[in-house]
Structure formats: C-alpha cells, structure tokens
Symmetry: D2
C-alpha cells in the first residue's frame, strides 16, 4: 500500500526496522478518537457523503470496542497504527473506507494522537503524584510525624527536626511536580488535526469542529508548527525525569535510613525482599529500584532532545524514535509513583536511638553567645574548640552540666539558656519556615491546600475530556494510559 510510485516493495529489513506497531499499541484509542472526529467533520461539511461518514463512524466505534477488550493486534507489516486502522476499515467498507484519509496526513494524524495521549498521560501521572503527596502529608500528620530525628546535611547530623517537616518537604517537591504537570496539560490546548502535511488543505476542513470533538479549546494556528512540534513530549519527559529524580532522593534516604546501623526507617515486609543465597537478608530492593529509575528517565529525555537537535520544522521521520521514549517514560514514571506511595504509607519512621547524642544544639549554644554579645564568628570558633575537647574527653553536649557550661562560657552566666534535650530542639527554632511545630503546621496547611486545589482542577479536566469521548460513544477502557 502507498507504494504505487515505486518499483519495489520496502526492503524486509527496512519494514522490521521502521515499524512502530509495538509502541503504537498505546495509541490505538487516541487514533480511533482522532479518526472519529475527522470523519464526523468530513460528513458534516459534505466533503464526503454523509452516509459514508456515518458508516465509517459506526465501524470505528466497533473497532474501538474491540480494542478496549484487547482484541486488536497491530500488524507490523502495516507499519503503524494509522495504516492498520485504515486497512481494517477498507477491508470491511471497501471504497467507503478509502475515504477515511481524505484531507488528512499521517503528519497531522500522529501529532494529534500524541497530543491526545500525552494529555491523558499527564493527567494520570499528576493523579498518581497527588496520591503520593497526600500520603506524605498523612504520614506527617500521623504519630510518626511528631517524632524528632536528626536532620542530615552531608549525611551527618545537622539539626534536629520533626519527621513531619521531612515528610512535608518531600511532599512539597512532588507538589511542585504536580503543578508543572498541570501547567503542561493546560498548554496542550491546540488541535493539530487539519494541518495536513505541513500546510493545511485545499478541502474546506472545519478544524474548529474536530478540535471540539477532541476536547481541544483551540486550533493550532500554524500548520507548519503543528506537524513538527514535539515540545510537549520533551516537556513531559523532562517532568518525568524531574519527578523520578525527586523520587530517587527520597529512595536513597529510605535505603540509608533502613540500614540496621542507622535504623531510622523500617520498611514494611511487603516492600522488602531477601537474598536467594543469604537467608538473613532484608533488602530494600523496591527503594533501590525507585532510586534507579531516575537513570532511564534521564536517558529518555536525553534521547528526545538529541533526536530533535538540528531538525527542521515540519515532519521528519526521526520524530518516530520519540514515540517509544514517551510511552515507556509514562509507563515507568507511573510505576515509580505507584510503588513509592504504598511504600511510604506502610513505612515506619522511628524515633532517634538513644546513642545518637550528637551535638546538634551547637548552633543554639553559639546563638546564645551571640545574644550575650559575642560576635558570631568568634562564638562559632569557641564552641568548635569546646566540642572538640568534649569529644576527646568522651562527654556529650546534651548531658552537660550547667556549671561546666558556664565555666566554658562565662557569658552565659545569669542567662536563661539551657542546652535543649534532643526532643525539644526543633521548638527552639521558631523562625518562619523553621523546625518548630507551629511552622511545620503552617507548611502542612499550605501544601494541603495546594494539592487539593490541583486535585479539583484535575478532576474538572478529566470530566471535560470524558464527556467528549462519551458523546462519541468511545468506551472509557480504551484510554488507560
């Protein structure tokens, strides 16, 4: 098919190398949706006979139902999803099927499929990420959240904080991803359908009509841009890489926190494995796999940007290599979040072991000297030397006697300063955004509000899209990303 000009069929090695039917399996629903909007418009405008359009629509709907049940297998010899569908229709409808592609190019068709797919995929990833944010916030408000732990910098005890602040901070990072995902699906608002190869059509296509049926608020105003633009795919892969990188940081903290020597996190049995050789092992494999996944997510982004480098506007076949990147990326990104959410929901965040009597209150001591009039840099130096001696003598800051403290720092005499007990430390820092519970509460409320607002907006968008699909009689099951 489509080789009337050529003396030879496509080389079989070329057929194998160029077929995209594997990745196109994810696009079937979107391709059928696009075709249905297109033929309805072809009928309405009279470009093809109205009855012909109706039969095409019926047949497309039948195909959609079959596909929703997994009953449609794409034949690689027919290159891609587009040709598979067209051949299927022509087989059943003859000349009427041969009208399907009127006024359309595979260039605007694949752009449409990918935009529709990406919009759904972004909503799906956003939904999963919102669940993760909510889970982190719930754990912050659980009893574990009120426990105190030595916050790390450089993997060394820095200052003590509530687990709730740590959990909410991870929530904030994912909430940022949520908001960027939402911005991105909102920008996916223009229908490429009707852009032809690169320049539109001499047939009187009604692009507003197809845009309406595809739930696109607008029509892309440049056919040359619409057919070649894949910014939305790059942006998606970037946000997936960013999200996966956030997840990898959290996973690393779980892996290290779950070391028996550290013992500040206990992962649930449902998320650990043992060794095939060593019966004593309790391995955080799932956290490691989450940590790892940032790597292929980055690889896909690199591949997509490298692909686009030096490509002219308009359609080039190179773009095809972007499809599996996008589809694998969405699938694996969803997997990361799907496994991280219950892992967090079931993990236990533990109180500090008594042995970790690390002198994280050193700053409060220096601050007390500052209040007593000592320039900070000098206070810092004196506390440093004091702690060094204390360590060599085997003492511990939290257990220090008041008298010893005043001997070392006479300025503190008569002040109300005390070395805080570890569990009281977070309350000492009452600056905005600091570690005290009042500030943690403020943080929690802010993130909760932002995530709820995002959730509501997302729900509205999902309903808007579903409505169009229902109106066209397309089964919802066709669109499981």
């Amino acid at each position: 098919m489509l080789r009337e000009r050529f003396s030879r069929p496509l080389d079989p090695r070329a057929v194998r190398f160029s077929a995209s039917t594997d990745e196109d399996a994810a696009l079937v629903g979107y391709d059928l949706w696009g075709s249905m909007a297109h033929v309805r418009m072809l009928g309405t405008t009279g470009i093809i006979p109205r009855a012909n359009a109706r039969r095409l629509e019926t047949e497309l709907r039948r195909l959609a139902r079959r596909a929703a049940k997994g009953g449609l297998r794409l034949d690689p010899a027919l290159e891609d999803v587009h040709l598979n569908v067209e051949v299927e229709l022509t087989r059943r409808l003859g000349a009427e099927g041969a009208r399907l592609h009127t006024g359309r190019s595979r260039n605007d068709q694949v752009a449409t499929d990918l935009a529709l797919y990406t919009r759904d995929a972004l909503l799906a990833v956003e939904g999963a990420a919102l669940d993760l944010v909510q889970t982190l916030l719930e754990r912050a408000r659980s009893p574990d959240g009120r426990l105190v732990v030595a916050g790390w910098t450089h993997f060394q005890a820095a200052q003590r904080v509530y687990w709730a602040q740590w959990l909410a901070t991870h929530a904030v990072r994912f909430q940022r991803d949520v908001e960027r995902l939402a911005e991105l699906w909102q920008s996916l608002d223009s229908s490429p359908l009707g852009s032809g190869a690169i320049a539109g059509s001499s047939l009187p296509l009604d692009r507003e009509a197809t845009a309406h049926w595809l739930a696109f608020p607008k029509v892309n105003p440049s056919s040359l841009d619409a057919t070649g633009d894949r910014d939305f795919a790059t942006d998606t892969l970037y946000l997936l890489a960013r999200l996966s990188t956030h997840a990898s940081g959290l996973a690393e903290e779980l892996v290290v926190g779950a070391m028996p020597e550290v013992g500040r996190v206990r992962l649930d049995d449902a998320f650990v494995t043992t060794s095939s050789l060593m019966p004593h092992k309790r391995n955080p494999d799932l956290a490691e796999l989450v940590r790892a996944e940032a790597a292929p997510a980055l690889g896909r982004l690199v591949a997509h940007l490298t692909l686009l480098k030096g490509l002219p506007v308009g359609y080039q076949r190179d773009l095809q290599a972007g499809k599996p990147l996008l589809i694998d990326g969405v699938r694996r990104g969803l997997g990361v979040v799907a496994v991280l959410t219950p892992m967090i929901a079931t993990a236990r965040f533990l109180p500090e072991k008594s042995r970790s009597t690390q002198p994280t209150a050193s700053v409060e001591l220096a601050d007390a000297l500052v209040i007593a009039g000592v320039p900070f840099r000098r206070a810092h130096a004196r506390v440093a030397r004091f702690l060094d001696r204390l360590e060599r003598e085997g003492g511990a800051l939290p257990e220090l006697l008041r008298a010893d403290l005043e001997k070392a720092f006479p300025e503190l005499e008569g002040t109300s300063f005390t070395i805080p007990r570890p569990e009281d430390e977070p309350e000492r820092r009452r600056t905005r955004g600091g570690s005290s519970w009042r500030e943690v509460e403020r943080l929690l409320v802010e993130v909760e509000q932002r995530s709820q607002s995002a959730g509501r907006e997302r729900a509205r968008e999902c309903r808007r899209i579903d409505r169009r699909r229902r109106e066209l009689g397309l089964p919802a099951g066709l669109f499981a990303v």
Copy 2:
C-alpha cells in the same frame, strides 16, 4: 578559618579541587545584595547592634561599588565568594565584621545567591529571546516574507508556503520558550534566606524583611526545602537546552538552505567565514556553532540531573558542582540568541529557483478528484502513478496542459480545477492555520500579541527588582548576568 576543630589545614589538593571562586565571580553582586538585606534586618531586629549593622552596610556598599568596576578578585584559598566577602569585611571592621554571618548558614546563603542570580538570568535570556522573536516576525513582514518556497518534510519538497509562515513558525517556537521562562521566574518567588543550615534559627530573624529587600514576594515555608532545592536551576538548564535545540533546528535549515546547490538562504558577509586554506570558501560557521551549542546545553542539563539523583533533601556538597553548569549555561545560551538574532535580521530569504519545479501540487490534484467523488486513497494512488509516468517522460506538473490532465483524470472535465502555479500554491490551502496569507496574517498577529504581552510583563518585573536594588544603594552594573 572555620577549622578550629581540626588538627590540620585542608589538604592543598583539596583546596584546589573544592574552590568555587571561578564560577562565584558571577555571584558577587548577588552575594553582596543578600548580605546587605541580612545585616539591615539584623540591625532592625536588634540581633546585632544597630550601629554595627550600619557600618557593615556601608562597607558592603563600598565593596559593591568596587565589584561593579571589576575591582574585586576572589581568592581561591578562601574557597568561595561568601568567605571572601566575610574575610574582606573582617579585615576592615574587625569584630564588627565577625557579626556578618549571625543567624545565617552558607546553605541558605548560597541558595539565596543562586535564586537571585537565576531570576536575573531568566529575565536576561527572556529579553534576548524576545528580540529574536521580534526579529523573526519583522522578517516575516518584510518583502522576503511574501516570497514562496517549497516547504520541506524529510528535506524533500512537500508543499509550498510563504517564507513568512516559516519565519513565524520559528517565532512561535521561541515564543513558547519565552513563556516558559516567564513562568519559571514567576515561580522563583520565595526567599530562602533565614533557613539556616536546614532548620531555621533560634535567633528572632525577620525573614519577611529580608525577602522584601530581595524583591521576593514570599518566604520559603520549609527551611529543609529551601536549603537543598535546586529545581529552579534544573528547570533553567532544561529551558536553555530546549531553546538551544530550537535554535539548532533553525541553524540546520540555514546551513542547508545556504548550500549553493539549494540556494534559498543567503547569509550576510558579517556571519560567514572563509577557510585558512581554501580561498573560495564561504562557510556558515556561525550557524554551525549555533547548531552545535544545543549539545553542551544538553550536557549541562544531564550533569545537573545526574548530580541530583539520589541526593537527600537538605544541603549536600555535591550541589556545588551545579553552579558552573548554571552559570556557563546562561552565558552560552545568551550567546546563542545574541548571534542568531542579527544573523536572521541580515539573512536574505530567496525566491525559489526556477528549476525547482517539483510537483508539490499533487495533493491539490488528488483533492480535486476527491471533490469529484473519487475516494481519497484511490485518488492518491492514481496521482502517484501519473506522476511517476510524468517524471519518466520528463514532464513537470506545473507545466502540464489542461488537455493532458483531463485525459489522465476524466473526472476533472468540466470542473474549474487548475494546477496552481508555484507562487499561487499557498493560497489554495485556506484551512485554519494553513498556508494562505489570511492564515499567516492571523498567525503573525497572534505571536505579536503574545510577545508584546510577555515583554510588558518582563519590563514590570525588571523595574520591581531594580527599585529594591536602588533603595539599597547597589549599583546596577553589579548585576550584568
């Protein structure tokens, strides 16, 4: 300095390897700004004596004026910009200088410097990109824009379009970058200053006050997030990579378009070079360098994401490796746009050579058959075979006689269809977003409005920021990104 606890100075190889004074040169202004806001607040709140704060401020302002004139060299032995400034102040003010770092950590300080720098950098890149958009639009409205050229797909003539559509399409892509850059600087709205190491401070810091002086609308509500978050840097590198990739595609079209065999673009003498060996050469070196620059832009993004992979929240020293990525990225990104804009402004976009009589009207012919009732797929096959024969016989579609056409396609008899002359082809496709001038005009107006609106918003933001700096007496020249 700062090594009171240790028995030994830092190893000299470690000093060399860890110093960041090279890249910090770009941050001097931002570091001074941050310090000035900080000491003013320390004085206002009474954390340090008010007179001390005033002297620190005066000294910082003096240093700022010196730095604006290039008179401040950072000493690598003093690690970074922060310590250089602190040592400088202590040298002049003694114990008063030793109060500068009160209630502050290098962790929140560097986060502040980078956020301030990035906000300015984004505005600078956006400004340059807006110039490029405007230049592309001006060329689209110039006489060159009304010329017709065969739009390519697969580097093969596809459909004829106005140069204006091609120029406006490149403008649209850069305009998308502009809008994402604007979204990003808008999201850079929270002051990290006052977050301490990771947990805030036990001193009564007024974070709203420092945020005000730094022109941040808000205070970051999690100290743990504020000190470790570098999402804004990753986002910046991503947008620079995206912008550079757009530029590389445009550059490739210039390089290929300027081939004598192709001859559709003529670059100005000011943007070509010759060979050191071959006196006949007229090489598009600058376009090649622009094309190339997408590669290091991507490399920096990769480096930054890889850096962050598996990092806990809070500060880790790994983050330092991100600074030169950001600063080089901004500098090179600005360079790409700075050279591309005048290259476009001075290039000539040429009318099609007469020999390119490629049959891009084949679609219009098939469409005419569709209107005459032939199913599209059959029309396509017939036209394909017809063109194959025509080519073998040495004929050219645009020169075909009406009679010959009707002989091949009897359906066209009696219709008004004609093969369009090449220069008339764009007008045939009058669908929304298509190649006709009406649609190109619509496109131009849309992009013009979007870019003007972005320009106005950007100007407001620049003024808002400048005002704060003026109020603090900081010279504008300090902030040339």
Copy 3:
C-alpha cells in the same frame, strides 16, 4: 517463594514494578547454559549427588530445547528468568530441583548471564558491522567509486574527491568500531560464576570447571568485583552509541545528498517511502530513522552511567535497571546496521551535475603561486580577491582561459600550471592519504586487510564458543541475540 522470613507477600504493585521477565526473555539461553555448567560441576565435585546432577542436566537440556522453539514463557509473578527456571525444575524434579541453587547466588548468576549474553551480542554486532564495512569497500571498488564529487566541509564544496575515498572513510570509521568491539569481547574473559553473593562460598566449588564449560578463559579473581561489575555493559552501550553516531553522520549525508536540489545520491526504491497525503513524495525515511537512532543509543548510555553513579561495589538492585538498556541497545544497534548495509549496497553515488562548477581548485591555484615563490598567506589573499571578482562577473574557475589566469597572476607565466578539470582534481593531490587514486587504493587495501583479519579472529571465537555449547547439548537456536 523465598519469603519465609516475611509476614507478607510482596505488594502486587511491587511485583509488577520489579519483575524483569520482559527483558529476561533474551537471557533464557544464557541462564540455562550457566545452570548446566553449574550442576555439572556440583555433580563432579560431589557437592550434590552425581545422579541428581545428571537428572538436573537432562531436565535443563529439555528446557533448552523447548526454549529454542519459543515454548518457554516467563511468568512475571516469578520475578525473573532465574526463579522461573528454578521453579520449573522443582516442579518436575521435586527435592532434586531444590538443589539447583546450591553454592550460587542470583548475584553471580545474573552477572554470568549478562557476561555470556554480552559476549555473544558483541560478536553479533561486530559481524554486522563487518558486513557494513565490506559493503562500503565494495561500493568504493565499484564503478561509482571512480566518480568524482565535491567533498564538503561546512556543507559547502571544499575539494573534489573520488566517491571511493568518501566510502572508504566511512568504512574506516566503522572498522574502528569493529576493532573496539573485538577488544571488548576479548576482555570479557573471566567467569563470575562461583562468586556467591559477594564473597565466594564455603562449599568446595570448582570455578575453573564452570569457567571451562562457559568458554571463559579465566576466573574473576575478586568475588566482590565479579558480582557488581557492569563495566562491560557500559562499554557495550558506549560502543553502540559510537557506532550509531557514525551511522547517523552517514545517514545525514544520504538525506542531504538525496535532496533533488543536491542530487548526488539516489536511494533505491526499496529504501524510500512516500507520503500518506502527498503522492509525489520520495522520502528517505529509512536514512532518517538511522540518523535518529543515535539519540536513543546515547540515552541508554546516559541511563547506564547515571545508574552506576554513586553505587558501592557488590550487588545493588539498581543494577537491574541496566538489563533492558543493554538488551534494547543491542537489538536496535543491530537494526541500524542491518538496514544501513543494504541501503548502501543499493544506493547509487552519482557524478557531479555539470552546474556545480564550484572553484574547489582555488587551493591548487594558490599552491602554484607558492611554488612560484609567493608566500602562502599572500597567495591566499590574492586568489580570494580574484575569485570574488570572477564570481561577480559570472565567470567560473574551471572554464577560465589561460591568458586571463596569467593576467591575474603573472607569476604563473611560463609554468606548467593549469586549472584542473573537476574530474582531474583528485589526482593533483598526491600526498600520503590524499585524494589521488594511488592513495585511495592504499587506503582501501589497508581497511580490507584490517577487516579481514578481524573477521577471521571473530570466526575463531564463535567456533570456540559454539564448541562448548555443543558439548553440553545446547541447541544453537537458543542463542540468537
């Protein structure tokens, strides 16, 4: 299975996310081979009863035959190929199957599988690349090779060369890949099997014996290294990326060379496609897909290196994410070469169109002035100005009259210098490695010898490996990479 210590089965989302059965399909043969070597050794050493070992071997062989026919499907609920095989054996042999894993860990097992797979994969890629080298050399020796074409720099005519030199230069680049691939499979000489989890075994395993049966010349001398080392996979992905990048450069030259405006390459009908909309199109899609493939090849390399960043020695589950990268990379790399080879074999490399009378002999003219005593830089400047005037006057260097030449360059009077005709130009440059046919011939002979020598060595290695597999009764069909 393997969860005796845990209170709960693995979470179903975790099962889905962590299963590697998709990618492990490519490893089945290698896993069975490793297991067969292992049980034979367990029997010989008496670690398990000899009869037990024999039955395990028989059963593994049966499984191997089934797998070779595609009759073995891996169940994702059983995680990976290793557990699938073990469960299969236990199902048939009961307690005897439960001895399979004696003295073995999945850590050394997967390392063994991957090393065996990679060795075969490298030989396969090398074989394909050798075919490509040979095809390029054959085309260089075909009549097309004797045709002259303007060699490009900056996509501008630089100096004329034989197509043969261009073809041989591409051959040289791929030959370098061949040689690096060979170095890599030669370095894959150490058996990981018997390294246990990370530290070996307290059972008297005979690692030399298993190494022998797996055709490994040596045993890896550090168990800690053997289980965690994936350098060979990174190296493979690097070489695939390098090879794909070489292919992408060649593909770009085909795409641009096949532009009608350029017309120096004609791709065979079996490797071009048309448009679904535009019947006149003759698109070099396959060349574009080859060009594109360098991007995902790079993405996989990035993913693998990012994965390994910051990983300790020994086994971490993160390593699993490397398996699909390796396996997809090999498959796509083979695809690139498989399609490029016949594309080159069937393409036509055309003589220069008469209109390309570009003055590439400018250097020869300057050189003649040098021989006549003019310092080169002055000669260059004079020729440049001369050509500029010639161009403005519409003249062409190759058509210049002797008298006009001598008028411009009196130094040439009395010398034998002539402007070479385009087709004679390559013979003028007779330096080593230059464009004259004598040098091209020298180049061809060198590359032919290198590729033949590589081919012989590769064949020896293939035979050596096959012998072991035959001795163990393993069907060859099991090892189609």
Copy 4:
C-alpha cells in the same frame, strides 16, 4: 585577516561567540610543536626556502619559551591559537611569517593539536590513576587491610570480608580504567598533519617526516577521515566518565562509611570541613565533591556525542564546541584522582563495631546443611525461619550455643560445623576469588603485576615523546596538560 572576499568584518557578537582562545590556552604548546614540525619539513623538502624555515623555527622556539613561562596571551579578536601564532610570527618576520601556513589547513592543524594534547592528557590521567591503584593496594597491605568488615549488598550486611578485598576490588576497577586509557593512547598513533582541508595537498609535503617529529608512528591514511575524526576525544571523555563513575561509587562508600552511626571509615582532618553555622560538623565534603564529579563528566560525554550526531565526515565548525569539553574534562578528571588518592592514603578503615552482630554466617549454616544432605532451597528456608525467630527472641547468631543450634538443625549433630566468629568468617570461603586471605593475596599480586606492567609501558611512551620534543628544543614545561 582572511576576509578578503567579504564586504564586511565578522559581526562583533559573532567574534565573541566564535572565539576559542579560552580553551586554546591549553593547546598552545601543541600548536607550536605542530608548527615546528611543519616548517622543518617545509624547509627540508624545499617547499619554502631553507633559510626561511630556519628563521620560522627559531621564532617558534622563542615563542615556545615565552609560552612556557606563561608569557603568551591569546587575543580573542584573533579567533584561536592558530591565528594568534601566525599573526605573532608575521609581525616579527613579515613575508617569511606568511609562509608558515603553506600546505596546511586549520582543519588538519587543529586535528593535530588535539591528537597531541589528548595523547599527553591520557598519559597524565593514566599516571594519576596508577597512583590511586597503588595507594589502594598499599592500604590493602597495611594493617587496616587485615581487619574484617561486613561486606554490603543493598547497603545491608551480606558477608564478611577483609578490608583488603574491598580495597583491592576498587583497585581492580581503576586498573581496568588504566588499561583502557593505555589502549586509547596506543591507538592515537596516526598523524593528521598534511591532510589539508580534507583532501591532502598538491605540494610535495612529506607527511612521514612531520609524523616522526610529532612522535606519531604512522600517517593517517585518509585525509578525509583525519580532518573530521574526533573519536579519540569521545573515547577520552567516555573513559573519564567511567573513571569518575568508579570514583563516585568509592566516594559514596566513604560518605556512608563515615556516618557516625556506621563508623567504619574515618577520613583524615585534612579532607573534612565544618559548617559555617554549625560548629559541631565534620563533613566529608571532599568525598561528596568526588561523588558529584561523575555528573559533569557524563554531561561532557553527552555533549560530545550529541555534537557529532548527524555530522558528515570532514570538518564542520560544530567540532569546535568539543574542545572545551575535552580540556575541562581532562582537568576535572585529574582533579578527582588527585584528591581521591591522598584521601584514601590517609583514611582509616576501622574494625567492625561490636554491636554489628549481624548474622552474615547464615549462608555457612545453610551450606553445612547442604553438606549434610539437605537440598539447598530447603536449607535456605529453614535457616530463614530460624533467624526470624532468633531475631524476635533477641538472640544473635554468632553467640548461639552449639546445643541450641543442634536442636534446630539435628542434621548438624556429629558434624564439625560451628558458627564462625565474625573475624573468622572470611576464611571459611576458600573458593577461587573468595574472601579467604589466600585468595585476597592472589588478587593483590595480580593487580600489582598489572599496574606495574602498565606503569613501565607508560614510562617508555613518555620518554619516547619527550625525546622528540627535546630534539626540537621545546621546553618540557610547555606540555603541562
């Protein structure tokens, strides 16, 4: 200069964007060396007058001495090192200077500079890596090496090993890098000089002579390849990325090992820092910076491969963007190794804390059951359940009474099996490559021999290169990479 054909100078923005003088500073010595070999040959062959050649050589030598003292600053307005040198010579020698570039193009010149630079750089990196290997081996043979530590998988105690095995395993990984670096500099054996723009020269250049003076064993047999090939740079960046990734894994183990909770590594005071705010901190900043550096190393590799994607053979200006990648990469790679080596040399590797009584001997227990006839998989399950109960009851495997063991595992009655004490565990596993000291010793000897052999070969190559430079009178100090 070089713009005789053009009506306008290069645009000032283009000059800034395209100058490569910053990175070329590292190439000055190599450029002068190449020019000296070239002019000597020009004189010997009589292409330029012998006296002229001598004066050029003298002047180049003078420039070399000046450059070695840092007295040569490259002017960006003169684009690159090549033009800077040529202008300098012409300023002093007039017409004689104008002969320098005879028979040479910047294309073969820059290829020569980069090949010479890269050869030296590889030798430098190899030398540094050999020091690191030797340091690791020395620490393995130090008293620390005989201490026993729980080897990790998944950051969980797996099996106990000697620190020596861990150290030697890291040595093996770097030794592999050493060997690949050596292979690479050996393959850098062909002189590009004399390849002209892409096609050689019509002047009778003696390429063997220049190759000799540049210490290249051979002449590159394809001028088209020689001018455009940058495989050696990509390979270098790949090996630097691999080496940095190895370093990052080691650094991660140092960072985690130095956590007070873990306490198995103590970094020397000369390689730790404190916090500017928290006087108690003892941060492994240098280890973190080493860990981080794998990220920009990867970024540079990505940039270089992306750069080359889709580039034709021959010279394109895009290649220029590869120069800073290579030069920065070498400098930072050397920095990583330079700081890691003394960090390892001064770190203390500590014996296990008594509390880490993790049951890593579980495998030995299961193996004992295997010897007693229990199928392994069943032994594994029984030990797993046993350990689970033991843990719940608060018992520890190493402290278990014989009687209790036999009660749980009656099969062990009458056998000589005992649970090994932690410090005896490594000796239990006596398989090849296992954890016993005999095997560690074998490993140490192998790595020592490989690294010594590499060291000798490297020294020979350095001497060979130095000899040529001395013969030409070039100061050694010119070639500090």
